[in-house]
Symmetry: C2
Subunit: 250 residues, 2 copies
DNA sequence: CGGAGGGTTGAGATTCATCAACGCGTGTGG
DNA sequence: CCACACGCGTTGATGAATCTCAACCCTCCG
């Protein structure tokens, strides 16, 4: 009987499984297999027929597109508990992305056939899939936006803001979840520019020490807030928020 | 009793309604309303709570993100029969995108509440939603890819290739579905660069006259083919395809 | 005839990628 | 214990590519 590792059963339960009955979950996991991979291993090759959904149990994974020249564009960066390839299963045809382990990793793969069937059997599961894919799509929109009409500084700022909100608005400190090179590529800039941007950040009251980001106050990142990110902020209706660049610039 | 306009009932039936029973479709359309808008009208404002799914009955519509500076990044360009905002409904929170009519347009709006309920009631409809959102997500991935690791020439080439495949591999001619300015922005380049790229295209055997694109032969666009786009091509297994840049460059 | 909008063309400025060198911490092997 | 190499990140100089700005052409339309 397949069972999820304990750390993924509590509050960090993957959204894919959220709200499912125990029976439904068990059915889903019946044919799941777990794999272990070293760093930089290709789990799915762009152009291949996708075989299932991947859940990261341990390590770091990314999805990416690459061209003949070997250049790579990161689509998503996954941490423990994240899943990928849900959307790809429902595109007919070969996978538009590769999946690659960044570090030593352990992943669970649920076969495509199971997922597709389960969508029809359990409407709650279908809803989970829709939510997840929509969420990914939202991120993709932000990436598109970023690369079109944001400066590198703004991209990094927005990325920091997201991490800050994830960490909770009270914590004035968070750590980069991935190597700088990796984050830089995800943001569509080179490692060099990323490094230079980090220096600019210091002038804005954000100190960067290795992979630890420390902010002077909880509003240092408000410069980078967005009409739709704003909603995630605890203090959006507080007076303080009025001081945000976003509101004062008008 | 709401009924879809006849032109959307045949082979061009929106994917949203594909394969639904008549009863299911009627239920979905019960509370649908149609609206008429002049050009450049904002149907949904970025940051607002989304009210439903929009189906384009007539005209051209786009989804976009914009910043305080007034710069805009097009996310999708919609023609008659296309839908938008499906994904946004399932992101909790305000809409990350605006929806804007490009020309005089007629659209049908299906309220959020109806869509969300119907996903639970009709698993086939849920599957439709998943497919659509996944498809949008796939396009978004291509956009991200394009803006990171493709030259403007390659972006236009790929866009042309898509239009060519839509038109059928046999037709050596197709037309730009939108104003050049609009397409340019969608591709993340300025109208000027777009214009200059079109001149380069001529050297590759693609003539551009106003909004009509004519290719010397069916393989002129193979330069721009992709490991996952390849699958859409009729001739992928034919010998001719071996001549594609993609294969010969190695 | 004149104006407006879309598209094109040219010249210049800006910005980021590229390339190369260096610093620094870590792990390994002598 | 030290020497060394390696990976990652940083810094600086350079160049290329695209955006910006401006002028112009063309068509459509009043």
């Amino acid at each position: 009987m397949h069972k999820l590792p304990p750390q993924l059963l509590g509050s960090k339960r993957p959204q894919l499984f959220s709200g499912l009955t125990e029976a439904s979950l068990q059915k889903l996991l019946t044919y799941a297999v777990t794999q272990e991979h070293g760093p930089n291993h290709i789990l799915v090759q762009q152009g291949d027929i996708p075989d299932g959904v991947y859940l990261v149990l341990e390590g770091e994974v990314r999805t990416l597109r690459s061209n003949e020249g070997g250049e790579e564009a990161s689509i998503r960066l996954l941490e423990v508990g994240d899943t990928c390839m849900e959307a790809v299963l429902f595109m007919s045809g070969p996978s538009p992305i590769s999946v690659q382990s960044l570090t030593q990793s352990r992943v669970m793969m649920i076969p495509a056939r199971i997922i597709k069937q389960h969508v029809l059997d359990d409407s709650h599961f279908a809803l989970n899939i829709i939510s997840i894919v929509s969420h990914h799509y939202r991120n993709a929109m932000h990436q598109i936006d970023a690369m079109n009409i944001k400066t590198p500084l703004q991209r990094v700022g927005y990325y920091f803001l997201e991490k800050h909100l994830e960490a909770g608005h009270d914590s004035l400190e968070f750590t980069l979840p991935f190597r700088k090179q990796t984050v830089a590529n995800y943001l569509g800039i080179t490692a060099e520019t990323f490094s230079r941007v980090l220096k600019q950040m210091r002038d804005l009251g954000i100190s960067v020490e290795n992979d630890t980001i420390r902010m002077k106050d909880a509003f240092s990142l408000c410069h980078f807030c967005d009409s739709d990110t704003e909603a995630l902020c605890d203090r959006k209706d507080k007076d303080n928020c009025k001081h945000c660049i976003m509101h004062s610039k008008g």
